[in-house]
């Protein structure tokens, strides 16, 4: 038991590497926030565009959403990070991570918002149009608020899953929590930094999981 504690909860190592881990937390939070904002707004914009039912445009939106839902983000990250410099486009690690995760979240968010739009009754659209609001204002004032309400629980789950992927940054040298921890682990020769990263992630994401659970139980309740 003592050895176990020394390996995974060594206080000396903890004290030494806490600043590094905290710096990593900060990087993770910044990238996560940027991804959430860009991804949700991007997905919402795509879903709104899609509701205009312009055929050529919708074809591209659907392909985009399908591809980014089907591709593992790590593959895209590696292509951007290692492939793009050879055609003269240098992107920093954090930038690649942000672009790929935001694009992935946008794809999922588009599908979620679109499902929300699709379940708004046709009569709601007709009522808006018949009262002279026109398509765009009916979209904005009538359909959108109803779609967003439906979209929130699945969206929170997806946001959670994708912001967790900021850990993939460790594969391309972004100094977020996980890479700070693995670096510290190899310097210190102790597993304690890994424990610290686990704790850091739990502190960040456990509240989100609890919120997601609460949102889901609320909507499940309403259905009955």
């Amino acid at each position: 038991m003592d050895r176990f504690l020394q390996t995974f909860f060594n206080p000396v190592v903890m004290a030494q590497y806490t600043p590094d881990i905290i710096a990593g937390v900060w990087v993770t939070l910044q990238i996560a926030a940027a991804v959430i904002v860009a991804g949700i707004l991007g997905g919402l914009a795509l879903a709104c565009l899609r509701s205009y039912r312009i055929r050529a445009l919708n074809f591209f939106i659907i392909c985009y959403a399908d591809i980014f839902r089907a591709l593992p983000p790590l593959v895209v990250i590696l292509i951007l990070y290692f492939g793009f410099p050879s055609i003269g486009i240098q992107l920093s690690g954090p930038m690649v991570l942000f672009i790929v995760l935001a694009a992935t979240l946008a794809a999922f968010a588009e599908e979620i918002f679109w499902a929300g739009f699709s379940s708004v009754e046709k009569g709601q659209w007709e009522a808006g149009i018949a009262t002279g609001l026109g398509f765009t204002r009916t979209l904005a004032y009538v359909a959108l608020p109803q779609a967003v309400r439906l979209a929130i629980p699945p969206l929170v789950n997806r946001v959670l899953a994708i912001t967790k992927m900021t850990a993939l940054g460790s594969a391309i040298g972004v100094s977020e929590i996980l890479s700070s921890a693995t670096t510290a682990q190899s310097f210190s020769g102790s597993a304690t930094p890994l424990t610290m990263s686990v704790v850091a992630y739990l502190v960040i994401f456990l509240p989100m999981v609890v919120v997601a659970r609460w949102l889901e139980s609320r909507t499940a309740w309403k259905k009955r």
């Binding site: 995974f8 460790s170 597993a191 890994l194 994401f205």
Partner: protein
């Protein structure tokens, strides 16, 4: 444009790296079968614990799902693969991947099952048991089939996520599809093998993603 094609869609390099990628694909498929199968079974038990009448069992299974939904799978994987040897436990990369993703995915599958089980009306339990079926028989023959049908899109989209997840195994040098593609890239200094790997994932997953959208639309209608 030429340089773009040369760097990302270089047929010659793709052809040369194909055998390596195919062995990687085989490993990916093995990983997927192991994680999906175990995840589906493990998730069911966690979900049943979640719906149990015993409070401590409910507590444990909720703690389990929330814990492993909060941890990034890569962190879990690194912790198991790089951390456990410090405690004198050495495991193969394959086992580390399966264990890490099983912990992660059984939690997600459990949530899907739970939603499905809730969606089946209580009357179904009562009706089945009043005809003399045991609780286990009721579960297997009456409740689960309905539950699975109700959450088919979520079950499917979760399975898509598992397949994508296996690409993380490349980080601990397990030679699956992405790892081998990365190897080919570093030997050729050309991103085409990575693009080819992406195409493999697309071929594998695009139909499933389409299917998920299709089911969702049908359920919404």
């Amino acid at each position: 444009m030429d340089i773009f094609i040369d760097q990302f869609f270089n047929i010659e390099i793709m052809r040369k790296s194909l055998p390596l990628l195919l062995t990687g694909l085989w490993m990916t498929l093995q990983l997927c079968s192991a994680v999906i199968l175990l995840g589906l079974i493990g998730g069911l038990f966690v979900a049943l614990g979640n719906m149990s009448e015993r409070r401590w069992l409910r507590f444990i299974s909720i703690a389990y799902t929330d814990l492993f939904r909060a941890l990034p799978p890569l962190v879990l994987l690194i912790f198991i693969y790089a951390g456990l040897p410090f405690a004198g436990i050495n495991i193969s990369p394959f086992a580390a991947v399966v264990i890490a993703f099983l912990l992660n995915n059984s939690s997600y599958y459990a949530e899907v099952y739970r939603a499905g089980l809730i969606s089946v009306a209580k009357g179904q339990w009562e009706a089945a048991q009043s005809t003399g079926l045991s609780p286990t028989q009721t579960l297997i023959h009456v409740v689960l089939p309905q539950a699975m049908r109700n959450v088919l899109p979520d079950l499917l989209s979760n399975t898509v996520e598992v397949v994508k997840l296996t690409s993380l195994a490349s980080v601990i040098s397990l030679s699956e599809l992405l790892y081998n593609a990365g190897m080919a890239r570093s030997v050729t200094y050309n991103a085409s093998p990575l693009v080819l790997a992406a195409l493999f994932y697309l071929v594998l997953l695009w139909p499933l993603v389409r299917l998920v959208s299709h089911f969702q639309r049908r359920l919404a209608a």
